[in-house]
């Protein structure tokens, strides 16, 4: 009797632990969005990737269609070479373009695919030519400051 009662409690304990691990994996982490489907890789070069990280989402029309797999520095063109894993069920025209966008004001950065009009679709190993770099806040601020300075400069130089 004692024996089988113990069995039940230990079983319950292990079950509870398993439920906790499942909860952590499914509800707290990203196992559900983890795609076990095959994907095809395409590359793209960016002048500046800002804060893009491996694992970031690739979205088209706001829907996740792939993930950033690898980010390297290309020593020849001095650009960032980004490898994307696109889900096989989504095909995009070859002249599609990529933009680095930010979700929200301070959210994480993702890649946006704007589909082109080419009749051929992207295949594995292709390179997406038209890319738009991340918006760097510091550059924006300095541009703004310089333009302000230019505007006010003639007035201040007047005697």
């Amino acid at each position: 009797m004692q024996r089988s009662k113990n069995d039940v409690w230990v079983g319950l304990f292990v079950l509870l632990g398993a439920v906790a691990v499942l909860f952590l994996a499914l509800k707290a982490a990203n196992l559900l969005t983890w795609s076990f489907n095959k994907d095809y890789e395409v590359t793209a070069k960016f002048d500046n990737i800002g804060g893009l990280k491996p694992g970031a989402a690739v979205k088209s029309a706001g829907v996740v269609v792939g993930r950033v797999k690898k980010i390297e520095f290309d020593g020849e063109s001095f650009q960032a070479k980004v490898t994307l894993g696109m889900q096989t069920q989504h095909a995009f025209p070859q002249d599609s373009s990529l933009k680095i966008l930010t979700s929200g004001l301070l959210g994480e950065q993702y890649l946006d695919v704007a589909p082109g009009a080419d009749e051929k679709n992207l295949a594995a190993g292709d390179r997406i030519g038209s890319t738009q770099s991340a918006v760097i806040l510091e550059n924006l601020i300095s541009q703004f400051l310089f333009s302000q300075a230019e505007k006010s400069a003639p007035e201040s130089q007047k005697p």
Partner: protein, 260 residues
């Protein structure tokens, strides 16, 4: 005078080395016996029941309150920067990566490790271990190995329960009481917590802590002086040493896992 001091130094060094050697020998003996121990799974199961089920209450309650506190503190800091939506991410990452494994291991050292040391120390003091040896039963295999595996199985489960309950606690405070948006609470969490890098490494941590805490508790009980004072000091040492080694190991593991 000087030769006496040098002699004392030499003796204590030799003693320390011998202790380390004995500990290492016992550790590898326990590892070598894991097959035999896991074959008689009933014994291990009893220990999982004793170490795991009885620690569940303290782990659940502490996890809940740690989650509550993380929710409150995190909210007050995050809302200064206008990013209270990241509360879920903060709560989940701190629990899954650090607090879950570490606090569960510290509680486990106090709740289960101390009782293991006292139990084995009293067996030593009551000469039950010697009696087993007289009957040609290896006490390491019959007494220590099932407890070792019981601890290794129980602690990762307890740490997972701790983290899960803590996240629910953070949800209760952050979303239900303070009013952070539930959708962004969960979606920020899912966006930032990785299954293998965060949850997986947390589980690896708790397995390592399980090995360390259980082994230290068993060792301290096994080498305890067979007197009431000996058992008392062994129990104290077990909690102190295993808590410190959990914190030290945590630093090393964190540096190895998240250093990129």
């Amino acid at each position: 005078m000087i030769t006496d001091m040098l002699g004392a130094l030499g003796t204590s060094t030799r003693q320390m080395l011998a202790n380390w050697g004995f500990a290492a020998r016992l550790f590898f003996k326990l590892l070598g016996m894991s097959g035999a121990a896991l074959k008689r799974f009933g014994l291990v199961q009893d220990q999982v029941h004793f170490l795991g089920n009885y620690s569940l209450a303290i782990i659940t309650v502490s996890g809940l309150f740690v989650g509550f506190v993380l929710g409150l503190q995190g909210y007050y800091t995050l809302q200064r920067y206008g990013s209270a939506e990241a509360l879920g991410l903060l709560v989940a990452l701190s629990l899954v990566r650090e607090l879950g494994p570490v606090v569960a291991a510290l509680l486990f050292a106090g709740r289960a490790g101390a009782s293991l040391t006292a139990e084995i120390g009293l067996m030593r003091a009551g000469e039950q271990l010697t009696a087993l040896e007289m009957m040609a039963v290896d006490p390491v295999q019959r007494i220590l190995a099932p407890r070792f595996w019981g601890g290794i199985i129980a602690l990762p489960l307890l740490a997972a329960v701790f983290s899960a309950v803590g996240i629910l606690g953070g949800y209760v405070v952050g979303v239900l009481l303070i009013g952070v948006d539930a959708g962004s609470f969960w979606s920020q969490m899912q966006g930032g917590v990785d299954v293998f890098k965060d949850v997986g490494n947390g589980i690896i941590k708790s397995v390592v802590f399980g090995v360390a805490v259980t082994f230290i508790a068993l060792l301290q009980g096994y080498v305890a002086k067979p007197t009431p004072e000996g058992v008392a000091s062994a129990t104290t040492r077990s909690v102190v040493v295993s808590s410190l080694s959990v914190l030290g190991l945590d630093f090393i593991l964190t540096a190895m896992m998240f250093s990129i």
